[in-house]
Amino acid sequence: MVKITLFIVLLSSFLNASSFEENCLSCHGNDFKFNMMMKKYTQKYSSEKRIKEAIFNYLKEPTVEKSVLPYEYINRFGPKEKTTLDDKTLREMIDIYYDKFNIQSKIY
């Protein structure tokens, strides 16, 4: 039973990792500062629910106002393009992103 559970967990994390790589890292690459982005979102939206909602809203309809990046930066490079992912996949990716990079779990 324990082996089966362990297997399911490992498989699910592998699948998660692979889908995150496929849907996110394929464009952003490994150099993307996910930590820094999470700090910006946390500083602005505080709770898990609000952070996830803000990321979702931005990725669905990116605007300068919704961006958490400094104004000078976003003004120069402009907001990113709309996501091509469907809502369900997008939310799953945001969940994975939050689980991997949220600040709360890193406080000790």
Binding site: N35, K39, Q43, K44, Y45, S46, S47, E48, Y108
Partner: protein, 382 residues
């Protein structure tokens, strides 16, 4: 010091002290709450400072860390942070905080301060800081101060009352001195008059002169009685009682006989029912004063042509008249010295004061039944 004076001092002291106590309690309670408020204010200010320190440190941790975030810990206080939806992010507190709506509160001897933060460093929208509450140690000081104030109040009020009562005391002393001197001057002439009347031969006088002589005798008896009362009153505290087994029946008969002349003048019928050989252990002079005063009062205040009833049993003596009687108010103040209800009759109003002191000394119970215009019955029981 007179009893009434003691009573006045007691009442004034009680009134003065209770009002002072009330004032002190009000002031000290107010002061206690003021100190408590002041302490809360101070605690709040300290906690606010702690809260600012925490906020600054959160900023520093948020900005400078990347992979791991070390939550700030302090010696002076503990803390916790909550996100915008009031979910706990991290805490070093020992207790769980339920309510973040109040900015300051006290729980289990700890003081807490809640503050809102923005931007949300480490996601913290609310911070809670906790420190040990400082106890208020002014209660003991307040009790000591109150005791000092009360002691001073008792001393000052005692002197104040004595000062206020001084004119009254002086007047009473003056009255006593006056009576003392008057009494002294009365002694010789009264003794002379009474002794000479007794030696007069009744047969040598005609009827008219005899009546005049009887009136002189009655008047002299009255004065003599008054004299005895005054002497008793003045020397009361200076002589010790010479107690002996007295034949009360014999003494009562003698006293009734002594006053019979006085009763004859008012045409009174003396109805005497004295049980033989009733004994009582007391001072003869005092018992005579007791009987004389009750009997002379009955004769003095009864109406003409009425009956005075004297009844002695083994344990009671009752003397009743058919005079004007007294109200309940008058009865309640009858034992006060110089109290006189009927100013038309002679006397100083000291009779019942003497009666009271004697019955108190021998544990005799007195019962006064009186009805206006019907009469008074005084019953002594032992």
């Amino acid at each position: 010091m007179y009893k009434s004076e003691k009573q006045t001092i007691f009442y004034v002291l009680a009134l003065y002290l209770s009002s002072t106590l009330l004032l002190i309690t009000t002031l000290f309670t107010g002061y206690y709450f003021y100190k408590q408020e002041e302490l809360i204010h101070t605690e709040k200010e300290i906690l606010k400072q702690y809260s600012l320190t925490l906020e600054e440190t959160l900023l520093s941790v948020h900005e400078n860390s990347d992979e791991k975030y070390e939550y700030p810990r302090f010696k002076n206080f503990k803390s916790a942070i909550y996100d915008i939806d009031k979910n706990l992010i991290f805490s070093t507190l020992d207790t769980k905080i339920e309510n973040l709506d109040k900015d300051f509160f006290v729980k289990d001897s700890n003081a807490y301060y809640v503050s809102s933060l923005k931007p949300y460093y480490l996601g913290a929208a609310y911070s809670v800081v906790e420190k040990k509450k400082k106890p208020i140690n002014i209660l003991n000081d307040l009790i000591i101060s109150a005791m000092i104030v009360i002691t001073i109040t008792i001393i000052t009020s005692f002197f104040l009352v004595k000062l206020v009562l001084k004119p009254l005391r002086d007047n009473l002393r003056l009255l006593d001195n006056f009576i003392k001197e008057t009494t002294h001057e009365l002694n010789t002439p009264i003794t002379t008059i009474l002794a000479n009347i007794e030696t007069l031969d009744a047969k040598s006088c005609d009827e008219k002169s005899m009546r005049k002589l009887q009136r002189i005798k009655t008047a002299s008896t009255t004065i003599s009685n008054l004299y005895q009362d005054l002497v008793y009153l003045l020397l009361n505290h200076q002589i010790s009682s010479q107690n002996e087994e007295l034949n009360l029946s014999e003494i009562l008969n003698q006293r009734v006989h002594y006053f019979s002349q006085m009763a004859n003048v008012k045409k009174l019928n003396l109805n005497v029912d004295i049980k033989e050989d009733v004994y009582f252990n007391a001072d003869r002079q005092k018992i005579e004063r007791l009987i004389d005063n009750i009997l002379s009062n009955a004769i003095k205040y009864t109406n003409k042509f009425t009956t005075i009833k004297v009844v002695l049993t083994q344990h009671t003596l009752s003397i009743s008249d058919e005079g004007k009687g007294m109200s309940q108010d008058e009865i309640s103040t009858i034992f006060q010295r110089y109290r006189r209800f009927d100013k038309t009759q002679g006397g100083f109003g000291i009779g019942y004061s003497i009666i009271k002191s004697i019955i108190d000394e021998y544990g005799i119970k007195i019962d006064i039944e009186s009805e206006i215009q019907k009469g008074t019955k005084v019953t002594l029981s032992w």
